[in-house]
């Protein structure tokens, strides 16, 4: 089977950052592969190594800058990648439906039997694209999967869904399916030097909306980011000052008052 993995390059804010307009200044963001997607890639590559997946294709919606991140997914074992971008996305806050428009078109093209998505993107934290995509393309799905055992012959994925409070739901999902992958599902590998070299030769197909038979109107967002600000801290923490020794000394006093270490 073919496995499609949706990946996203996300920005992580530095400890000190400035907000410019309605986003964090790009100079104060470190761009990296979304953590959840790292686990999704690993799951797909493991399926390939087990002889279950014939091909692993990574797809992203992102500007040219995102190629570096996509290249990491290739270095970890994805066979090739599709990068979708269009001026229509520039400076907008894409809604779930717009992303699904894009991924639906890619699914039509690639015809995967399994789509793996990270549970959420670390920057926007919607956690919705995978399940919305499943609904659109008529696949079944499971959200927040932290254990995966794929039985290709039976045409099912046996998964655990990580519910709140230390409870896991054991579920059997019919293929084709979209699974949203939780961190901890596996141990994402580091890209090897050999993998990194090989990734240089792998294809990243730069694709725009027209290539997918879409128009900018199709991906017009229903959401507009109108403000971004640092939340007011309602902290009433006593900040303990001084060098490490002084701070530790004062904290030790506090802890002893609370009966710790007595």
């Amino acid at each position: 089977m073919k496995v499609l993995v949706t990946v996203k390059e996300v920005g992580e804010a530095d400890d000190d950052f400035e907000i410019e307009g309605t986003d964090i200044a790009s100079s104060d963001l470190e761009y990296d592969l979304n953590e959840w997607d790292d686990y999704a890639i690993e799951a797909a590559v493991q399926l390939a190594e087990a002889g279950i997946a014939e091909e692993v294709v990574a797809v992203t919606i992102g500007p040219e800058r995102a190629e570096e991140t996509i290249r990491m997914a290739l270095a970890k074992g994805a066979d090739r990648a599709v990068r979708v971008w269009d001026d229509a996305f520039e400076g907008t806050f894409a809604d779930v439906s717009s992303k699904v428009d894009v991924f639906e078109a890619v699914v039509d093209e690639e015809e995967p039997e399994l789509v793996l998505s990270g549970v959420q993107a670390a920057d926007t934290a919607f956690g919705a694209t995978g399940v919305a995509l499943a609904e659109r393309i008529g696949f079944d799905h499971a959200a927040v999967v932290n254990d995966l055992d794929l039985d290709a012959d039976a045409g099912v994925a046996n998964v655990h869904r990580e519910l709140e409070g230390g409870i896991e739901e054991l579920t059997e999902v019919d293929l084709p399916a979209v699974l949203t992958v939780q961190t901890g599902l596996n141990e994402p590998r580091y890209a090897s030097l050999r993998g990194i070299r090989q990734a240089q030769r792998k294809e990243i197909a730069a694709t725009d909306l027209a290539d997918l038979g879409l128009t900018p109107a199709d991906v017009e967002s229903t959401l507009t980011l109108t403000e971004m600000y640092e939340p007011e801290s309602d902290s009433d923490a006593e900040l303990i000052e001084g060098d490490a020794g002084e701070a530790a000394g004062r904290l030790a006093e506090v802890l002893r008052e609370k009966g710790v270490g007595a």
Binding site: G11, A13, D15, I24, F93, V96, S97, V100, V119, D123, T124, A125, F126, G127, A128, T129, V131, A132, E135, H141, A142, A143, V144, E162, L163, E164, G165, G166, I167, E169, L170, T171, E172, D174, A177, T183, G184, T222, L223, T224, L225, T226, E227, M228, Y229, E230, P231, S233, S235, E238, L239, I240, A244, A248, G249, L251, A252, K258, G259, G261
Partner: protein, 317 residues
Amino acid sequence: MSDVLVVSEHRRGELRDVSFELLTAGRELADALGGDLHVGVVAGDVERFADDLNRPGVDRIHAVANGEEFDHTVYTAAVEALVDRIDPAAVLTPNSVNGLDYAPAVAERLDLPLVADVLGFEYDADDGLTVTREMYGSKVETAVAVEGDRFCLTLRGGEFVPAEGVGDAEIEPVEIEAPESGARVKGFEEVGGGDVDIADADVLVSVGRGIGEEENLELVEELADALGATLSSSRPIVDNGWLPKNRQVGQSGKVVTPDVYIAVGISGAVQHVAGMKGSDTIVAINTDPNAPIFDIADYGIVGDLFDVVPELVAEFE
């Protein structure tokens, strides 16, 4: 088309707290829209759940008695049927693991704009709906304007006060036909267990991503020993396999309420805070002065744990 539909959540025979928080949020939004508050309860012992959800502010409760436990196929079909009946402007669901297993499908099927992990909202007839949500790991808050007059929101738990008291809602059974599900729940498993129950500890030393490498765990183990405390952790430490799952504090791990909680190298993501905010005294040691953990800490040291922790160990030896 000014009504609000709230979809309640239950698990293994119990309504979850977020259901009652949604009633409060739903009432606020219904007031702003000038409509009624409807509550959907799907699967399980719907009559008992409906009685419990009948709290002040609720106008009508729709009880859909399909199945026992959560099944996203049933939930999606039920919400679709209820939207068809009620024609609401807004559908509100919890931003929970199960909420995220059906709300995006509902929004997609009904062509509703979706905003996930909503902390608050404002509505007025001229400007429409604006919601508040976080980005970049809770480092910033944003306002998001939603186009159109219908929408689906998933609400973060713990942001609204749970509705209390007894209301006078009409309770109505609803029959729906749900298609056969392609995702079948086979059972549940409690994870954790093991040698230690961190929920029993009076003092927890809890370690997070800031520890960097597995071999550095020794440092916090020494601290826990010196203080007579139990060692716990945030999610990444367990994801990495450095500590077993029964040590994890947070939404998907254990909820703890020790006398003293010492967070070492933990930034304080919302999922973590959900598991420890009830601690009597919270101490945070972190290099990032903007880390959200300091918002809930009683005592904080902005500094490098590799400098501070050894000094603290020495204080107690």
